[in-house]
Symmetry: C2
Subunit: 626 residues, 2 copies
């Protein structure tokens, strides 16, 4: 089901409707995802007792609707008599089992619901802030976690069925000292495992999930049903899509059925538990590691998120470059060309080539188009700052300030976004978008209140090379024609903010994406983040390209000496940990597709980290030996 | 000591210098704060193994420097052979005890350091994301937490001394099932408790800490030394000051010595443990609940934070209103008038009164001053948008967009900040500041890329009534003259973005601060956050003013009927949970003083939460009965 975060009323309505259909289709068990009543990513709304009472109330409505069938669903479980570690009322991330209008599950458990054992506390997850886990509850009750992991004994259609009721992370116990599924199995027999989840989409995660879950099922020989929600949820800085992709594994660990990703579906499966589902033939699930999955997640995420905040029309600054072109092609597909306004905002630095490309893109998309030059207003601003005297009130002396060429570049960028795009968006009746990609975000190659403005940064979790790949995918598979002009793909990427960035002379960005994309990826996406110390060590050992995954031989080609290699490394590291942090703090929400997007999953401080002692030793060695 | 987050090199240097001095003063024990080598708020830097190795390396330097005296200090404790729940290398928030160049503490413990038992997982804290607590370790080893809480047996100057080594939250066990101090005491005898902390300043927290700690000491009759760091640390969205305020409690729980808040001090105390410090007379500590503490925290925070990111000069937009005046007075005190550029940016809507007040403020502060009118450029923008045709490329038709009066207000605000202030700041060689207060931040009464821009929002954790109180405090106690013109304090607060906000006619903001400040406080600062359901229930019961803390009788006066009361409540709740969230996501870092500042301690999603079912029932009742 699609879960709307923070809306128990709407989610309950969806569930009641689906239950009605399930009943018509004579289902005996209906399974809804984790936290399907409250939603999952709702910030600190858990601290509102009014909201908690509302969740309980809607949970009761679902429980009352459990006549004729057994309903499994996720909700917050509340113990009003106890507190959590923060002194607030005790809350659990809970698995409810309702039948004949009543809750089951308290036969061998202190609550009429089961609770999550393993709470993810990495990436974007925040369970531990709000919920008390079984790992905390067990010692408090003088019991072992494993003893408390009992199956739920139900009677379904006259048959005794023992359910292993687990929540999301409980199925991913590899790194934990508690092995949830094994423990419930030990306390069995278990006839069916049910994992209810609220698991955000990450490129390639389902591929891994199928491997992990199949392996676990094999070790228990008990079928498992995985139920995940669809929709988008966000934690402010980052917007996550949920792909659903609910999956049924038979006792051999084979996938025998699944729901289409990103689609709300009432899927009925006839599962003879005596056969462990092994009478069903295995099916093949779509791979979720390719550009088609990236596109699907972005398309779904833009659609759901924009509409959820009331945005149906957008203004996009079109420079003729690749990022704005991909952005325009994506939004046009989601909102329709009639709701897209492309605007080209040339200054004296913009080439005829890119201006033409912007117009061509708009033609290809059949959207609204306009050109609003910025040169006059940029000149006005520079003149006003240069010509207006400043007085020192201590000594009465007057002086004038001067706009430097670098400052003038930022004035252009801000003029485009804060003046034109923001003004146009209001007049057009919508929002304007941020076209920044992940490579730029990493090192702050963007202007605050300039090209870093917008209501959503839909491309900001894609490295530049992924933006190019997506451009190709859009032309070839989605539009099936050259919507994004080939020339936009071919020209050198450039901000065109000065004559030093003249595309027609092949001049452009200071970032060399085929190398820096991979270097930046190592800084921010490696599970154990790579720091300059690691980079230098790999460089010294001649394994850098292999380690970071870029094309072999690239560093030799780019940096004739260690000195140049080091200067480049230090330049970008300083930006990544310095000015870029300041910019990201004020950046728009990022639409996540990767294993780590900027925002709540990349917690950072404006500390301007310097390098380690070992780094300086390695640097010294390298500079002295060459 | 002042801890620089993310800089083991600098922190180690400070510690070595202080150790030198301690040795000269013949100290036998030197105590440094929690995480004094790595710093505490460093985001996900803990995921860089290079950084972890660097922390270990610097920890060894301190250990080696522990000849002639016993050194207690905080650092990350690493078990390279184990993993945490996230699969990364196992890290502990650890208490190190060094003497004669060696680590002590593994006599009755699995590591040569002690680890934090209680990890705060509320407010801005993030311990659980990175560190494995004793509560997790104990069951893994098949032990109880309480058994593992053993004192450290040391020999100091020939005497056997048992130290109770605890970390920060371990001293605040009220809401936890584990009582750390009691458990160590039980495993005693303990001669001295040492609590090393990294505890950010919160208005009134020390007052509470002294009550909580004194009570615990009383129950054990063992003296306790509390050592906290000074400095600023941030987690991106929020900047925290650390006030130090290290305190010595004798066995009766009396305070016998303390360090001045916000000051790095090597404090020597002669503590005869056989006397339990009871031979010292109790001293009175400064109260930390008043405006003087607010001022001290802001002054210290601005100073340390601005300099840490390389900002020594600032541009401040001075409107003649209260927020910009207080901001200017604060920054001038920190950076000196020569580094402050005040700029007044009038449009046709700005009154002579406020223009004069801005000039007067600048005169009073003796800073740099200039006036940059915005009317011409605002007119240019409106004309450009209105006059530039847009073409629909599907049918070739042209049309024109129109800037509405409301959109024109935002154009003014953005023109001031993104065009003038940002441009001026670059020319002046510094940053520009955000003058937003907490009341505005709550409901998004500000323009994104407009008055919500800046490198720091120093007033954004103060309600409007606190801003006024701070204005009075600055004039009376800090400048001891009328620096902020009395008229600025007296006029109606107004954004002056249209003739509907004409201050000279007494027209101004739609927020009535004497009531809304308290309503908004209930939404966001109440430990159990109040929602409209609670507000309506209190209103119905006639206890609202008492519950939210505003002046009695105010709601009757403001809202003649329930209908008007409800309309007002719904208006602001919708903004607080809606548009204001979008704005806060892109707002500058907030300097924290209260128990909850915006940013990482106010986790939120763009969900546009609606109200609870119970709210609608109460509303229905109220509207029908009146």
């Amino acid at each position: 089901m699609e879960v709307i975060p923070g809306r128990p009323d709407l989610n309950t309505r969806t569930m009641l409707k689906m239950l009605e259909e399930a009943r018509m289709r004579q289902a005996q068990i209906a399974i809804f995802p984790e936290m399907c009543i409250p939603g999952y990513l709702i910030g600190d709304t858990w601290e509102q007792q009014a909201f908690l009472r509302d969740c309980e109330r809607h949970g009761r409505i679902i429980t009352e609707a459990s006549h004729d069938l057994c309903v499994l669903f996720g909700n917050v479980g509340i113990d009003w008599d106890k507190t959590g570690d923060d002194g607030r009322v005790r809350k659990y991330n809970a698995f409810f089992i309702a039948q004949n209008g009543k809750l089951h599950g308290d036969e061998n458990f202190p609550y009429p619901f089961r609770i999550k054992t393993l709470q993810p506390n990495y990436r974007e997850f925040d369970d531990t802030r709000h919920f008390y886990s079984l790992r905390k509850l067990a010692p408090e009750l003088g019991k072992s976690v494993e003893d408390m992991l009992q199956p739920v004994h139900m009677n379904i259609a006259g048959e005794s069925v023992n359910l292993g009721c687990i929540l999301c992370e409980d199925g991913w116990s590899e790194d934990y000292s508690v092995k949830t599924i094994a423990a419930v199995h030990q306390n069995g027999p278990v006839h069916l495992f049910v994992n209810i989840s609220a698991s955000p989409f990450t490129l390639g995660k389902n591929n891994k999930r199928n491997r992990v879950f199949s392996k676990q099922v094999e070790s228990t020989s008990v079928p498992l049903i995985y139920v995940n929600n669809v929709g988008t949820q966000n934690n402010g800085k980052t917007v996550y899509t949920f792909d659903g992709f609910s999956t049924v594994y038979n006792g051999k660990g084979e996938i025998i059925d699944y729901c289409q990703p990103f689609t709300q579906t009432l899927k009925c499966i006839d599962l003879d538990l005596t056969q462990k589902g092994e009478d069903h033939s295995p099916v093949t699930v779509p791979d979720d590691r390719g550009m088609d999955s990236v596109y699907q997640a972005l398309n779904y995420g833009i659609d759901k998120f924009a509409r959820s905040i009331g945005i149906e029309k957008v203004v996009i600054g079109a420079s003729g470059g690749i990022d704005s072109a991909v952005s325009a092609a994506l939004y046009t597909k989601v909102l329709g060309p009639e709701n897209i306004l492309l605007v080209n905002m040339p200054s004296i630095y913009n080439s005829p080539t890119t201006k033409d490309l912007a117009a061509k893109l708009a033609q290809n998309l059949s959207c609204q188009y306009t050109v609003m030059p910025i040169q006059e207003s940029v000149d006005y601003t520079i003149k006003q700052i240069n010509d207006t005297p400043v007085v020192n009130l201590k000594n009465g002396r007057q002086f004038n300030l001067t706009v430097t060429p670098f400052a003038a570049e930022n004035i252009q960028a801000r003029d485009r976004s804060s003046r034109v795009l923001a003004g146009l968006a209001a007049a057009f009746g919508g929002g304007f978008v941020c076209n920044a990609n992940k490579s730029e975000m990493t090192v702050g190659y963007s202007t605050l209140y300039g090209d870093l403005g917008g209501f959503l940064a839909a491309l900001a979790d894609l490295w530049k090379h992924q933006v190019y790949a997506l451009a190709g995918y859009l032309n070839e598979h989605i539009y099936q024609r050259e919507v994004i002009p080939q020339k936009t793909i071919d020209i050198v990427p450039s901000a065109e903010l000065s004559f030093d960035q003249a595309v027609e002379q092949g001049k452009g960005d200071p970032i060399f994406y085929p190398y820096h994309d991979y270097l930046f990826h190592a800084f921010m996406e490696d599970w154990n983040r790579s720091a300059p110390e690691d980079i230098l060590d790999w460089y010294r050992q001649g394994v850098l390209e292999e380690k970071i995954g870029c094309q072999p031989g690239l560093t030799k080609q780019l940096f004739p000496s260690a000195r140049e290699f080091i200067a480049d490394l230090e330049r970008w590291w300083k930006l990544y940990t310095g000015m870029a942090v300041a910019k990201r703090i004020q950046a728009p929400p990022v639409l996540a597709v990767s294993r780590r997007a900027y925002g709540f999953d990349h917690r950072e401080a404006q500390n301007g980290l310097l390098n380690t002692a070992r780094y300086f030793e390695l640097k010294e060695q390298l500079l002295n030996t060459i």
